[in-house]
Subunit: 186 residues, 2 copies
DNA sequence: CTCACATGCGACAAGGATGTCTCAATAGGA
DNA sequence: TCCTATTGAGACATCCTTGTCGCATGTGAG
């Protein structure tokens, strides 16, 4: 028997491989018929939205895990820096599974998801701002920019691995060190 | 009268605004009828491929402008660094117009465009490698990674501007400085 | 064994986009 | 002015995808 969660996971995998995959392709990937797929999910858009929600859940979980709010109030530069690294490395791992959601037009165009994205970005931005004030992150860049920069490097990291330019196991280090210290010689 | 070039430019604009724009929408944006649009372009895919080609032309032009090959052979660290900056700032400008091509599935899935992308990425990688050997770029990162990192920051930069988190005029500086020196405090 | 329930399969209608065609209007040059 | 080439508008067939439905199958619990 195929669990609803199995279906969503399979759909995730299928859409990760081909972001334009049709419901037929998704159903095949899940090893069920299209009719059964529709017994689990109302529509293609609903599926995408649900997967988008899943990815936001995961994002939120990462933020909870490092306890963003407490951290932001802590003034502990070392812990903040460590948390930032942990966060980014976590995102890199997540991008393996949720990467397609980063650039999917249906997900990006959904108002509810966009609103929740804003909320999470706000939470994150609080941490960034705290990191700025304790001297971990540069103060000459807007706090809101950091999240975007991370996002971009996740997209490029995915791409680099897909094209074989970078080994998957090196990705975390590459993204993190490019992000924090840049690609130029110090 | 509407020039073929006008049509492509308008299509660019329309697809930039909405990457999923239909041929009807593109035609409207160009101020012509759908039939006339098809007199200029065989199919939607052909249109996308042509616009993708255009963006690669522009990329190639940027590489020509800085004379990548000569530069890579020059061993002049200052000039290489300056060229890198010029290149990236140029890309940021181009992303205004060609940004949608960065993530469009039709364009990305096209074999011919992907092949040419590889060629251009190779040219660029030569410059990156030279930059590494003269001490401008870090040697502990793969030369092929740099191009991806730039790509990612272009995507995020576009996004940041679209969401209003970053002013368009600040974008070049943000991207360039995040890329080169990272977001962490030195 | 039997029954209920989930599934696969096939068929179906609907919707949307694409590409083609024809015909009338129009603009621009001879 | 007249002729020609281009355009717009609309109609059309086609294709693909989506979502729904009915029916037969099979499996698992009791």
């Amino acid at each position: 028997m195929v669990d609803r969660d199995d279906v969503l996971t399979a759909a995730q995998r299928a859409l990760n491989a081909d972001p334009a995959a049709s419901m037929t392709a998704v159903a095949e990937a899940a090893g069920i018929s299209r009719a059964t797929l529709h017994r689990h999910v109302d529509s293609r858009e609903a599926l995408l939205v649900e997967l988008g929600t899943r990815s936001l859940d995961q994002w939120e979980q990462r933020l909870d895990d490092v306890d963003v709010e407490a951290l932001a109030a802590s003034d502990d530069a070392d812990r903040i820096r460590a948390a930032l690294e942990e966060l980014v490395l976590g995102y890199v791992d997540d991008s393996d599974v949720f990467g397609f959601a980063l650039t999917d037009q249906v997900i990006l165009a959904n108002a509810a998801l966009e609103a929740r994205t804003q909320v999470l970005a706000d939470r994150e931005a609080v941490l960034f701002a705290a990191a700025q004030s304790v001297g971990v992150l540069r103060t000459d860049l807007p706090a809101r920019w950091f999240g975007h920069a991370i996002y971009g490097l996740l997209v490029s990291g995915r791409d680099a691995v897909r094209l074989g330019d970078v080994a998957r196991r090196d990705l975390g280090r590459l993204v993190l060190s490019s992000l924090l210290t840049g690609i130029a010689t110090p």
